[in-house]
Symmetry: D2
Subunit: 383 residues, 4 copies
C-alpha cells in the first residue's frame, strides 16, 4: 500500500457540522490522545454556515478556528483530515471534493441520501485510496466494546454457524403526535425515516457481526403520524415512522430488523440477538457495557445467558479506560472510531467500515423500500 | 341463550390423549375445585389407543376409568364434557362427533391441521351452541394472569391507541441438528412447524390483547435442518424451523411475529411488546408472573417500564392461589382455562376463545404460508 | 437402619391445619403421585378445630374425612403419617405425641416457638427414629430446583471455597401502618417477627447450601410500627418488623441476613448470593426458576453471571414436570418435599432436614435475639 | 457570604496526582466547558513526584505545565484552585496549606486516613471559607444523575418516610488469593480496606439520600486472604477484605452496608435500596444510568419497580449531554463534580459535600472499626 508522505508533523483536522454529531465527534477528537496512543494531530478548523454560531461552537468544542466555507478549507495544506458531520444530502459533494484534494475523509452515516451519490462517493474513495487518502464511514456502533467482543466470539466460532439474527432499533421521540415537523421527517432532506436513520445501524451490525452479506430483503414501512405541526401549520410527514424487514444473507443466515421511532418507552434500544448452532448472544444499546453470551457446548444443566460486563482490560478498547466495572458511555464509541481512523492513517491500511460498506447498507435500504413499494417479498439486493 | 337441561348432578368429564397436553389438562381437572368455585364434576374417563398405557395414565392422573374408543364414550349419558388433547389431525372428527352428541367440547390448539377441517368444526360449534353445547379452543396463554392484566390495561385505554406490536416465540429444542425426526416435523401430521405450533400462540395474543383482527400478512419460512435422523435413516424435515411474519390489523395496528425452534438458549420464550400512544407493555413467558408496564402519561422524568409481579389478590385469577409474591407456574394456565370453561357451561355463556377464534388464527397461518410460497407481501387474510 | 413393618398396604396420611400452609400441603399430597413414583398413600383425615370449616376444607382439598381431635387420630392404626401445619406453639405437643404413637411426622417450620420445645421435639425424634418413625421439618425452599442445583454446584466445588454469603428475605405486607394486628405480631403466639418467620428460611439455606454451621451471631431487631389497630383499638406490636444479622460459620464463612416485612415493593424476595474463590451464585425467590451462576475459572473475558433457567430434565426434580422452559410455581416445593418424605419412609432413611436441623436454626435465631438484647456482637450459638 | 476578589480573569487550576483519580479528574477538567456553562479556567499545572512521568501525564491529560513541588505551586498567584488526587495520607498537609494560601480546594475521598487529620482539615476549611476559599470532598457518586434523582424523589416525599436502607459495595479484584500486595492492603498507608475504600461511598450515600445522620454503628470486619505475595515474599495483609455494618440514623432510619473486594463476579457493584412508607427505590452502579422506583401510592394492581433510564433532559445534569437513551459513563460524575465546584466558586456558595461531610463519614468508619474491635453493637458515632 503506497502512502502519501506526511504533509504535516502533526495531522491537521477540520470538521464540518456542529450539531448533535459534531458535538459527539468533537468530544472524540478532544479526548482520544488522553487515552490512546495515536499519531499527533490538531483540531484546526470547525466549519459551519452560521459564522457566529460556528465561532461559539469552535471555542466550546476545542477547535482552533471557525470557518464558513468548506471549499476553502479543503484546499489548505495544513489540513489532512476532513470529518464530515453535515447533513446527509451534503455528504457526496464535500467528501468527493475532499478526497480529490487528497484529504483523509471520515463521513457520518448515512453515506448519502441516494444510492447514486453513494456510488459516486465509493468510486471516489477507491480512487483516492490508491493515492493514499483514507476514507471511513461512521458506523460508530462497531466500536462498542460489547459488540466488538460479539464479533470476536462469532469469528472464533463460539456460536458455531449463525442461523438467524433478530434485531430491532426502538426509540420513542416521535410517539407524541404533537412532536413538531423537522427536516428529518421530509423525504427530500432525510431520505427515509426510521429505516435510514436507525435500521441502518442494525443492518450494518448484522453484516459486520456475521461477516455475511444481505442478498434478499422483504420490507414494510409505516407512517403512523401522517401530519405534524410545522412552523406554518400542519405538514405531511413523508418518511416512515417504523420499518420491518426480513433478510436472507450469504451463508444461509436469516435476519429480521424492526425499527421504530414511536415505540413508547424505548429510548434508544438497539437490540441484537444472534442464534447459532453452538451458542447465542444478545445485546441492548441501553446497556451498552453488557453482552449476554450463551455457550451451548457447556452441559445443558449449566446453560444460561451470561451477562458479561464488557469492562475488563481483556476486552476491546477497554485497557485505555478505567478499572473493571467502571462503565463507559455512548460517546466513547466515537473516540474509538477516531482512534481506529488515526491508526489506519498512520499504518496506511484501509480503515473499516469503508464507503463500500456504507454503500452496501444503502443498497439494502433501497431493497427494503422497493419491496415495500412493490409488495413483493425477497427483493434482490443489487450489487 | 337456551341451555341443555343439566343431564347429571355432577358434570361427567372424559378426556382424549394423555401425552404432554393430557398430563397438563389432567392436572387442571384434578385441582380446579381446590382453588376455584366451579360446578361439580367428575374425572370419569381417560381415552387413549394403547389399553395398557391409558390405564396406567388414568390411575396416575386421577381419572376413574380408562377407555380406548372415543366413539363409545361420546354416546354415554354420564359424559357431559369432552376434553380433546389428541393430535391435531384427529381434532375435527372427534370434536364434531362430540358436539353432535350434545357434549361440551374443549379442544387443544391448533383447532385443526387444515383450514377446511377448522371451518367444519366452527360450523359444528355454532350449530351445537344453539342447542346449548359449549365449545372452546385451548389458547391457554390467555389465562396467564399477566397477559389477562395486559388485556385489561389495553381495554381500559392505558396504552392509548396501540400502534404496533412486536412478538416472538423462541425455543431451542431443535437447535441440535441431531435431534431426531418426529411426527411434529412432518407436514402431513403436524401441518406446519414453528408457525403452527408456537407462532399461533403469538398470533392469538396479538389479536386478543388488542381486540383487533389481522387482515394482511407477509411471511417467510425457513427450515435450517432439512434432514434429521429417523428410525430408518435420515428423513426429510417438511415443516419450518422458523417463521417470520408482518401483519396489518384492523385499527391500523402493525405487528411482527417471529417464531423459532432453533433459537439456541431460548427455552420457551414467548415475548410480546405492545406500543401505544400513551403507554407500552412487555411480557416474557419465561417470567410469566411478570408484566412490564410503562405509563407515558406520567411525567417524563418518571417514565420507566415497571415490573408488576402479577401475584396480588387484585390480579386476574390470583385471589384463588397464594399470598403475594408466591409465584405460580405454567400449568396453572390450564387450571384457569378449565375454571372458565366450567363457569361458561354453568352460566350458559359462550366460552372464549371460541372455535371461531381458533379458525381465525388458522386463516392467518394460511395467509403467512401463502405469502411465503408466493413471495408476495401483504397477503390478504381470507374471512 | 431398622424399620417398622408397614402397617398398611397404602400409607394413611392425616394433616392438621387447613389455613395457608394446610392448603399448600394438601396440594402437594393431592398431586405428588401424578408426577413422581412414590409409595401408595391415602389422604385420610384433615384435622381442625372448627368442625364445619374443616369438613368444607377436607372436601375442597381432597381429604377423605374431617376430624376435630388430633389426639384421637394419632391413635388410629390406619394413620401412618402426621403432617402438622398447625401454628408453631402447638407443634411440640402434637409432634411428640405422634412420634410416640409411632407415626412418621412432617412439621411445618418453625419447629417450635421456644428453644425448650424444639429440644424436646428433637429428642423425641431421635428416639422415634430408632424405632423406625421418621420425622422432617418443612424447610420447603430446600426443594426449589434452583436452590437444589445451587447446593449441588457448591458441593461439587464449582464455587471453590465459599467466603461469604449475602442474604435477605424482604416482604412488604406490613409496610402499611394501618395493616391490622394479628397473632403473628404478638410475641406470645408468634415467637418473633420477621426473624423467625422469614429470616429462618435464609438461615437454613445458608447452612444447607454450604454444609457449614453458624457458630457466632450479631443481631439487631427493629419494630417500625409499634402499634397497630386490633379488634378493640390500638395494640402493641411485640415482635420485630425487620431483623439484621451477621454470622460466622464453620469453614471460615461469613454471612449476612436481612429480613423485613416493611420493605415496600418487595413481595416475597428471598435473595441469596454466595461468593467463593472460584465462582459465585445468586438467587431470588420471586424468580424461583432461575439460578445465576458465575464460573470464575473461565477466562476473565467471558466472566458473567449466567441465568440458568432451572427447568431442564437434567435439573433436580424437573424430569417429573413439563418440557424445558415451562416454569413451575412456588407450591411445587411442597410437592417435592412430600415426595422426598415418602421416599425416605419407603427406604427407611432419615429424611432431611431433620428436627435437629430445625433446632439448629432455632438456636441461631435465639443467638440473634440475645445479641440484639445485649448489644454485644458475635454471640456464641449454643449447641 | 463574603468573597475573595477574583484574582484572575480565568481561574488557574493545579492538580496533584496523575494516577487513576488524576486521570479521571483531568478528564473532567478537560471536558467540563464543552458541556456546561462554567466560569473560565485554565488547566495550568499538574504536580507529581516523578518529573518525567508528570511531564508525560501533563501532556497527555491537557495540563499546560508539569511540576514536582506542590509547595511552590500553592504560592503562585495564577493558581486559584488546587485539586488534590494524591494518596489519602498526604491530603491533610496539602489541603491545609492550600486553604491557608487562599486556594479553593477539591480533595479526593477519603478526606484523610486518620480522624485527627480529618478534623484539622475540617477546621481549616471552616476558617478558609470565612475568607472566601471554598472546599469540597470528592464523593463523586453524589453526581450520578440517577442518585441525584433519587435524592430529589426522597426530598419530595415520594418515598414517604424512609424506614430502612440496604446497601452494598461489592468488587472482586482481590478474590484471587494470588493478587499481589499493594499499599492499599497495608493499614499504615491505606487506613482500612473495603471499609474505607468503598463502604465509605455507601455510607455517604445513605446519609446524603435521606438527609439523615448515622448515630450508632455495629460492625464486623474480615480479612479472608491474610497474606499476599509482595516484592520480597509473602506479606501480611493488615486491612479488611470485607466489612459489614448496621446503622441507626436520625429520623429512625435503619441501614445496613456490606462491602467486599472478594465478591467474585461483582465488578463494581454499589447497590442501594431504600424502603419508605410510600415508595422504594433501588440502584446499582454497574447500571448507573438507571434508577428503579416504586410508587406505592399507585393502586396495588399496578405496583412495580420501574426502570427509569435517567437520561432525559428533565434529569439532573442530563441536558448537557446527549439525546435520550444515549447513556453516559462512570467518569461523567467527575465532570459534574467539577461543574458544581466551579459554580459554587462563582456564586461564592459553599460546595457540597463539604469537608465536614467527609469528616462525618470518617467518624462513622471509626465507629464501625471500634465496634468490630470491641465486639459491641450500637457503638455511638462521636460528633
Amino acid at each position: 500500500m503506497s502512502e502519501l508522505p506526511p504533509k504535516n508533523p502533526s495531522l491537521g483536522v477540520a470538521m464540518i457540522g456542529y450539531a448533535f454529531m459534531g458535538k459527539a465527534h468533537s468530544n472524540a477528537w478532544r479526548n482520544v490522545s488522553s487515552f490512546f496512543d495515536v499519531p499527533a494531530f490538531e483540531q484546526k478548523v470547525l466549519v459551519g454556515r452560521d459564522a457566529g454560531a460556528v465561532a461559539q461552537a469552535a471555542a466550546k468544542y476545542g477547535w482552533a478556528e471557525p470557518a464558513t466555507d468548506w471549499r476553502t478549507i479543503i484546499t489548505r495544506d495544513d489540513i489532512d483530515i476532513m470529518d464530515i458531520c453535515a447533513p446527509g444530502w451534503m455528504h457526496a459533494e464535500i467528501a468527493i471534493a475532499a478526497l480529490e484534494a487528497g484529504k483523509h475523509v471520515l463521513v457520518e452515516k448515512p453515506l448519502a441520501n441516494t444510492l447514486a451519490e453513494a456510488e459516486l462517493m465509493t468510486a471516489a474513495a477507491v480512487k483516492a485510496r490508491a493515492r493514499g487518502a483514507q476514507s471511513m464511514i461512521g458506523f460508530n456502533y462497531r466500536r462498542i466494546p460489547a459488540l466488538a467482543l460479539a464479533r470476536e466470539l462469532i469469528a472464533e466460532g463460539r456460536l458455531g454457524t449463525v442461523r438467524h439474527i433478530r434485531a430491532a432499533y426502538l426509540q420513542d421521540w416521535l410517539a407524541d403526535a404533537q412532536a413538531p415537523m423537522t427536516w428529518r421527517l421530509r423525504k427530500e432532506t432525510a431520505g427515509s425515516g426510521a429505516l435510514g436513520d436507525i435500521a441502518s445501524h442494525a443492518i450494518d451490525q448484522i453484516q459486520c457481526l456475521t461477516g455475511e452479506t444481505i442478498t434478499e430483503a422483504t420490507g414494510t414501512l409505516r407512517t403512523f403520524v401522517t401530519q405534524r405541526p410545522g412552523t406554518e401549520g400542519m405538514e405531511e410527514v413523508t418518511v416512515d415512522d417504523a420499518a420491518w424487514a426480513t433478510f436472507w444473507m450469504t451463508g444461509g443466515v436469516g435476519a429480521s430488523v424492526e425499527a421504530s421511532r414511536v415505540a413508547t418507552g424505548q429510548k434508544n434500544s438497539l437490540q441484537i440477538e444472534a442464534y447459532g448452532t453452538e451458542g447465542a448472544l444478545t445485546f441492548n444499546l441501553e446497556n451498552l457495557n453488557e453482552l449476554m453470551f450463551l455457550d451451548a457446548t457447556l452441559p445443558v444443566r449449566e446453560h444460561g445467558f451470561r451477562r458479561i460486563l464488557v469492562n475488563e482490560p481483556e476486552h476491546p478498547y477497554l485497557e485505555a479506560w478505567w478499572p473493571q466495572g467502571h462503565i463507559i458511555g455512548w460517546e466513547h464509541t466515537f473516540t474509538h472510531q477516531v482512534r481506529d481512523f488515526l491508526l489506519a492513517i498512520r499504518d496506511a491500511t484501509p480503515p473499516s467500515p469503508s464507503f463500500q460498506d456504507g454503500l452496501q447498507v444503502q443498497r439494502v435500504l433501497a431493497a427494503v423500500e422497493e419491496s415495500a413499494a412493490n409488495k413483493s417479498t425477497l427483493t434482490v439486493v443489487r450489487h
